[in-house]
Assembly symmetry: C2
Homo-oligomer: 344 residues x 2
DNA sequence: TTGTACGCGTTATCAC
DNA sequence: GTGATAACGCGTACAA
């Protein structure tokens, strides 16, 4: 019951350890009969090979890891599942690594890569400017998913699957403008953000400019303090402040659907209505945005396709050893009930 | 750059491997100077100990795993994070294992336990009647979280952290009855479910009986077909069918908040209102239920406390080697705006 | 305080 | 087709 090893199995079957190993790993040169017998006793004795020993010895392990800071993020949750399914379908092992907010995800990846002899890594929702020095230490292929990270061209063996955050952000703000809105508030990331938050804010500014609308810092609500960014709480809190500040605006653009939902709640709680009094737009295209009442107008990221392509791209990189792959998906504006057309 | 081992470090520093090992593992008997020198070169050469080799050698690894089928489930997402933080705080490694829907989670746990020399396991959202035979093979302590699983008393080294699903379900249905509702539909799990779905249905039936309301199978919507259960889609679809069937009811009880939200959407889409035309109640107490409009009346599980207690309980079991621990938390009825009092 | 040598459980490389 | 045996990288008696 305690710890049965390959030696025990070999002894019980009256064969050598290498034969047992062959049976386990589906090696060709083995008598089908003895193989069956071995597999039977393995099952009978409930033997499980010690993975540490395997990894120690093996050159390669056929496992890929997905590292992320947000397993809880509903946007990622679905993508993780899709990627996992695809990886398992290729008979690769899949390990999911959640790293703490304050931890460096690339360092974590390096560690796991060594420990588990990874074949490849998926970063879900990583930084836009990953540390090149660290990346260099990561000597397995990797794919960044959801953000168009700037990786030095001196490196190779990487891929990127993302959307054009600036352009898509432009798209939805442009849409709001076309609906007649000119006072559009934005709920965005930290002021010092250089990743998705900055890109989406850039798109917002460009759209305003193209419509001849002056940029008003009073309408820009940055994330403050600590805590997580893409949450309903954050949307609620900042919107409440915005409403109390008596700054006027007819539309509110949140850089994620979760933030948008928090914003809606704050608007309702203040006695106003969405979209009659204030229009709200989100970003991501979560299921949730559709089920909210009113449904949230948003930018829909093709999550499934992106997750699938991420996994596929990684396998391509593994096969071809190196490469610099980039796939920018188009996202689509999904009209909900949360935006009202106003005729000035 | 390729693969630097402990030997390399030893050679470079002009010391023996054991000295390096001592430096790494903070052993006492070592000259502080040499220790510092070793740590410096370790950093300089970017050496990371091979975890597989460590595990192979070590008797124990100080890692605990959390296995679940639903990392995407918002109820679990938060609890996972809490548990992970607590485990890491104890200087234990934390591995998160998502198992596929059709896979047996206990078999998966057994495999990982052997592979990674686990100290303990957390099952998040497991079955209510786990296979005793399999459980017996799991020779590390484990804690089931969220469901009061029936584990044979012949076993030990286990814990349970849960709520009383039947009683809490009773509580909310009783509440609906007290608000004057007598035609209460329920959206529940598969007809053959023996876990949470059954318990919550049991509570529903008992509450109805206590209020002298006959049980009407027409009001019981079981999950059908394949796919995931605790989803908005499921709530939407079945509610739509229910509404089209023209069965009359004034309240709808969904056994999860996510299902409840799907139900609300279907009600809105049919031109009816919540709660004016139909009252809706959920279960779990997700943040989301609060942010929904109208906010959903629900049973709030003390997620953080449960997650924390789960982790604590596991450490207690690890320390004391065996035991049969059970902690049933009280949940609270959280009134939202989704239930209307009707005066018959 | 430090170094040597062995063994952890497995796979790969040989001989047979 | 099969069985010894040498690695894999590390921790740890034990010797020095």
């Amino acid at each position: 019951m305690e710890k049965v090893t390959i030696k025990d199995i070999a002894r019980i079957c009256g064969v050598g350890v290498s034969t047992v190993s062959r049976a386990i790993n589906n090696h060709p040169d083995i008598n089908p009969e003895t193989k069956q017998q071995i597999l039977d006793t393995i099952r009978a004795y409930n033997y499980v090979p010690n993975n540490s020993a395997q990894n120690l010895k093996r050159t390669e392990t056929n496992t890929i890891a997905l590292v992320t800071k947000g397993v809880g993020n509903p946007l990622f949750a679905e993508m993780i599942e899709t990627a996992q399914r695809h990886v398992l379908g290729k008979d690769y092992a899949f390990v999911l690594q959640q790293v703490e907010e304050e931890e460096n995800e690339i360092e974590a990846a390096i560690r796991i890569a060594k420990e588990r002899r990874l074949k490849g890594i998926i970063f879900m929702g990583g930084a836009s400017q990953p540390d090149a020095g660290l990346l260099r230490l990561l000597n397995v292929p990797y794919v960044f998913c959801t953000v168009d990270s700037r990786i030095p061209e001196s490196l190779s063996g990487w891929g990127i699957v993302a959307i054009d955050n600036e352009a898509e952000s432009y798209k939805i703000v442009d849409y709001l403008c076309r609906q007649g809105h000119r006072r559009i508030a934005i709920l965005t990331a930290f002021a010092h953000d250089t990743s998705i938050g900055k890109l989406r804010l850039d798109g917002y500014r460009r759209a305003l400019a193209d419509h001849g609308i002056p940029y008003d810092p009073e309408l820009v609500m940055h994330m403050r303090g600590s805590g997580s960014l893409y949450t309903m709480q954050y949307g609620y809190q900042r919107t409440k402040e915005l409403l109390e500040s008596e700054t006027e605006f007819t539309a509110l653009y949140a850089i994620s659907d979760t933030i948008a939902i928090g914003a809606c709640k704050a608007i309702f709680d203040s006695g106003r209505r969405v979209p009659e009094d204030i229009s709200v737009a989100g970003f991501d295209g979560l299921d949730l945005a559709n089920y909210y009442h009113p449904s949230i107008t948003t930018i829909e990221q093709p999550m499934n396709e992106m997750a699938l392509e991420t996994s596929r791209m990684l396998f391509r990189l593994i096969r071809e050893k190196d490469g610099r792959l980039r796939h920018i998906f188009p996202a689509t504006l999904r009209e909900g009930q949360s935006v009202k057309r106003i005729c000035p």
